[in-house]
């Protein structure tokens, strides 16, 4: 179960964090909203679903010189309806970046990227904490408890932001 996933992902996560920590990139100004779809096609920009504030105020996660280098992550996060509703990184990951001001300042509180602040993977329970109704919903097609199998991580919604 969860241990298996920890084992399978831990080394990749470690390599990722080293790459991320070693890179100092300038802060992004913040995106207005989703720029491209999962298939790379342009999405209709809808100013009603702004995510620029959430990204700018994700402090050092996406605008402070660390994960903004992961363009897919940033794009997906910017397209997410959850981002628009201010579900920021720490809601699921806790946070290992201790700075409010855009500097790169990861701390050593036991957090590992991709893993929660207590050293555990961000598992489905983090999703279920809010989406209990989905799992009780007989219309929900999948009961495998593998949320990211269907929902793109960091974009989450199968329906893209701004598309009605």
């Amino acid at each position: 179960m969860k241990l298996t996933r920890i084992l399978s992902k831990a080394s990749a996560i470690s390599l990722f964090v080293l790459a991320a920590l070693a890179t100092h990139a300038p802060a992004i100004a913040g995106k207005n909203h989703g720029g491209s779809g999962s298939d790379g096609s342009a999405t209709a920009l809808d100013p009603r679903f702004d995510t620029s504030f959430a990204i700018e105020y994700d402090h050092s996660c996406l605008s402070g010189g660390c994960h903004e280098t992961d363009s897919q992550l940033v794009e997906e996060h910017a397209e997410s309806f959850m981002t628009h509703t201010m579900v920021k990184c720490n809601a699921c990951h806790g946070t290992h970046t201790a700075d409010t001001l855009g500097e790169e300042k990861p701390n050593l509180t036991g957090y590992y990227p991709g893993i929660g602040p207590t050293g555990y993977l961000v598992g489905d329970d983090r999703c279920i904490a809010c989406h209990t109704a989905t799992f009780d919903d007989p219309k929900h097609p999948n009961k495998t408890w593998d949320c990211v199998g269907c929902h793109t991580p960091h974009r989450f919604a199968t329906e893209q932001l701004g598309r009605n």
């Binding site: 080293l18 920021k88 050593l108 590992y112 050293g119 598992g123 904490a129 009605n164």
Partner: protein, 831 residues
């Protein structure tokens, strides 16, 4: 399996570990340590279902998943007033180890914001990032050191202090109480009984004064009584959302989620946002009215002027259900778009468009909050928002209401139950019939309840000599006892440097200060003579009224902190229990504090018994809850008031019949000569005619910037709880100031630079965040951060960072709420 089994050879030297633990920021470490950390990451050990922390050699606790949960406990969120339904996960040891949303709860459909998600981490010492739960009553010894005492000793000492105060020339009013918006309703009701019915003091207030007093007084003086008329379902039933001075994306995230979902629906309501900052909410608006601080009233008068000028009014509704329309219309007539544009800085065409959308939409829902209440013209702005809806007849039906959103989880409950400034059950302290009815219900002597409005918490006679307050009484040595409960005035009151001087132990006029709270340290404890440890959310059962008047129940999930110490006379108790202990002790020590039969006023033993008495107290009142029960609250995921036995679910919306509580026998406040009281007994609402006034402090050559204060999503109020949660603290660990790109450039300030800020009252030094969230000429800082607790002192390296060292203690003349939102400030890059 014990974590001690996983000890490994440490990667870091002891010195490095010490350095890392005191300064856990990687970029502040040496290069060698940085590389070691990288090595640690790549070689992390995976053991026994967890990750081994190579720094400490201990296995990380698995507390972010539900594997250990054996029982889910029904509850409601204890942070903001939106009232999200949730469940607390309990493990085999009876510990709260998780929170999940209640998917069946209509308010939030299982969703929670980041504060609610980590709420279980405020309960147990082992989960707290800093500090610990208070479990011992304590008094200071002669050297000023804390000394443990038992509850019996503590209640005896405090009771004697109260008796002495009542017997002093200053009388019962020299006993000041100051509580909260975070107790349960039963606790407010009990404490109102103790304060007004037993002690007989009128020096009672709560931090809700700082939060939404303007809404209470605005409603009361328009509709005759408090109580938001709308409900959350109006969000999905409206065509135009008018958000005035509020930022739900950060302050009420689940309210924002419902707005966002409504915006995605086929109905797709328009969104107008009034805010001086470009918040997430404002950036998502169809129309952002980015007004100058302190000009709310001019703007709303200008919008009402346009609605009248374009006849988007309902003449029949005005005629039948309101009074004073002609005077109001004449007053707003001068607020033309050009005039208002000159005052507010909002272009005239945007004002016209806003009025058009509000006026021509089939349904319009106005939501408003601190940007209104904590600004210049607070009460009058609420009155005009109500007037705007009344003249359009857009009230009391799905999708239309002037809907005041509250701040704290149970602020509404305090308003209803009279735990501080109000009288229980929306009774009017100036109406002898209401007062004697309550005295008889409580079985106390007639004349015991003070027949006057209680004193507000703060004011400054240098600025407003006509207003008295707790703080003024402190300053003048007119208090003997100051009992602070579940609130943290040492962080949240304005103009703190003065308050600190009044509370200083060297001040011979200082009263006996009691702080009743859940943690130690908390900033206000610095000034306390006595500390009383309280239980909190999750540790007690009780009901919570959220913004839409929905009453929900939070069931006790775990034992209060220090439960095992109770046999020895220690341990935290619920505030209901503490109030009962005090009522019993006072009655036993002095019969003046007992009921007519010589008994304690608090006869209920359990929260449910308290709720049953409260229900009887509300029967026939505006906030009637007699149709509710604990079981029904849980079964229905909350019930809105009014709820009578005959019509349990009748409280969806108020004023659907156009009848308001403005008749003398109904109104919640004021003497018979007050303008809102309908002289003809026709229950009509009152339309105020009010003019814009300039704020008492404006930027000038010496202090050239507007200082705006506010909040961030991660923290709640003075961070008493949220700074203990690592996942919240680490995102925003210190205060900061937002400066516009152009101002920062002119002053040579970059993000991260230290900035010195000063007002006429004090100064602080915080880091800069350069952003175009604020306009040039304006800066923004948060209200969350104290600078007295050891952890904060370490975090800030001794710098003063509390925004309330800067804010102005000027209160709205009607509601006595301070104008935290704006004052004049100067700033410069610090060396």
């Amino acid at each position: 399996m014990s974590s001690k089994q996983f000890k490994t050879k440490a990667l870091f030297t002891p010195g490095e570990v010490k350095s890392l633990s005191t300064n856990p920021n990687l970029c502040n470490q040496g290069r060698r340590t940085f590389l070691k950390w990288g090595a640690a990451l790549s070689s992390q050990a995976i053991v026994g279902g967890g990750v081994l922390n190579l720094l400490t050699g201990e296995q990380a606790l698995a507390d972010d998943h539900f594997d250990n949960v054996i029982n889910w406990n029904y509850s409601v969120c204890g942070f903001c007033s939106f009232g999200c339904g949730l469940e607390i996960g309990i493990d085999h040891d009876g510990r709260a180890v998780a929170v999940r949303g209640n998917g069946k709860h209509p308010t939030n459909a299982g969703r929670m914001c980041v504060k609610g998600l980590y709420e279980h981490k405020i309960l147990n010492n082992q989960d707290l990032r800093v500090g610990e739960r208070g479990v011992y009553p304590m008094i200071r010894d002669q050297n000023g050191e804390w000394e443990k005492i038992t509850w019996d000793q503590a209640t005896t000492i405090l009771s004697q202090k109260i008796i002495d105060a009542v017997d002093s020339p200053l009388g019962a009013d020299s006993v000041a109480t100051y509580n909260t918006g975070q107790w349960t309703l039963e606790e407010y009701y009990a404490f109102g009984k103790l304060g007004k019915g037993a002690i007989g003091t009128a020096t009672m207030d709560s931090n809700t004064r700082l939060c939404m007093a303007a809404a209470v007084v605005g409603y009361l003086t328009t509709f005759g009584s408090d109580g938001p008329p709308g409900c959350y379902d109006d969000i999905e039933n409206t065509d135009c959302l008018f958000l005035f001075g509020m930022n739900p994306a950060e302050m009420h995230p689940q309210l924002w989620r419902r707005i966002a979902l409504a915006r995605r629906s086929r109905r797709a309501p328009k969104l107008i946002v009034v805010d001086p900052r470009r918040t997430q909410t404002a950036r998502s608006a169809d129309l952002h009215l980015q007004l100058n601080p302190g000009t709310n009233l001019a703007l709303i008068n200008g919008i009402v002027q346009q609605i009248i000028a374009n006849q988007w009014t309902d003449a029949d509704y005005i005629e039948r259900h309101t009074r004073n329309y002609a005077e109001m219309a004449a007053t707003v007539a001068q607020y033309t778009p050009d005039t208002v544009a000159a005052i507010t800085g909002v272009p005239a065409d945007k004002i016209i468009t806003a009025a058009q959308w509000i006026g021509t939409s089939q349904e319009t829902l106005s939501l408003f909050l601190q940007g209104v209440y904590q600004s210049m013209g607070a009460t009058n702005t609420v009155r005009m928002l109500c007037a705007m809806h009344l003249i359009m007849g857009k009230i009391g039906r799905p999708g239309s209401a002037p809907f005041s959103i509250t701040g704290q989880a149970t602020a509404m409950s305090n308003r209803e139950a009279g735990g501080s400034s109000a009288l229980a059950g929306y009774r009017n302290c100036y109406n002898p019939t209401h007062v004697s009815e309550l005295e008889n219900f409580w079985n106390i002597e007639n004349g015991k309840i003070p027949p006057r409005k209680p004193t507000p918490i703060t004011s400054n006679s240098d600025l407003q000599p006509e207003i008295n307050s707790h703080v003024e009484m402190l300053r003048n040595g007119e208090l003997n006892v100051f009992w602070i409960q579940c609130t943290n005035p040492a962080v949240t009151l304005p103009d703190l440097n003065k308050l600190y001087a009044y509370l200083d132990f060297d001040n011979p006029n200082r009263p006996y200060v009691v702080v009743q709270d859940i943690y130690d340290p908390v900033e206000s404890i610095h000034f306390a003579d006595m500390f009383l440890p309280a239980a909190m959310w999750g540790e007690k059962t009780g009901v919570y009224t959220c913004s839409e008047r929905k009453v929900n129940i939070g069931r006790q999930a775990v034992n209060p902190a220090g439960f095992e110490l109770r046999d020895n006379g220690y341990g935290a108790y619920s505030d209901l229990d503490i109030t009962r202990m005090m009522a019993d002790k006072l009655a036993a020590m002095d019969s003046r504090f007992a009921d007519r039969n010589g008994n304690s006023l608090i006869t209920f033993e359990t929260p449910e018994q308290a709720f049953e008495e409260w229900k009887a107290c509300t029967a026939g009142t505006i906030c009637d809850m007699s149709g509710m029960s604990y079981a029904a609250l849980e079964a229905n995921n909350g019930i809105q008031w009014p709820s009578t036995v005959e019509d349990v679910y009748g409280g969806r919306r108020l004023y659907g019949d156009g009848r308001f509580n403005t008749n003398w026998e109904d109104t919640q406040g004021g003497t018979p000569d007050k303008p809102w009281i309908d002289p003809d007994g026709l229950s009509r609402a009152y339309l105020w005619a009010v003019d814009y006034e300039q704020a008492p402090e404006m930027p000038d050559s010496e202090y050239p910037f507007w200082l705006i204060t506010g909040r961030v999503i991660e923290h709640f109020h003075s961070r008493t709880k949220t700074k203990r949660i690592a996942q919240l603290h680490q995102m925003v660990p210190e205060n900061y100031v937002e400066i516009s790109t152009s101002d920062a450039s002119a002053m040579g300030i970059l993000s991260g630079d230290m900035v010195h800020m000063a007002t006429r009252r004090g100064e602080i030094m915080v880091k800069a965040k350069v952003t175009d969230t604020v306009k040039p000429g304006q800066v923004f800082t948060t209200m969350h951060f104290g600078d007295l607790d050891p952890d904060d002192i370490a975090q800030n390296e001794g710098r003063l960072v509390n925004a309330n060292r800067l804010t102005m203690n000027w209160v709205d003349p009607d509601c006595k709420q301070p104008i935290y939102k704006h004052c004049a400030v100067k700033l410069a890059r610090a060396n």
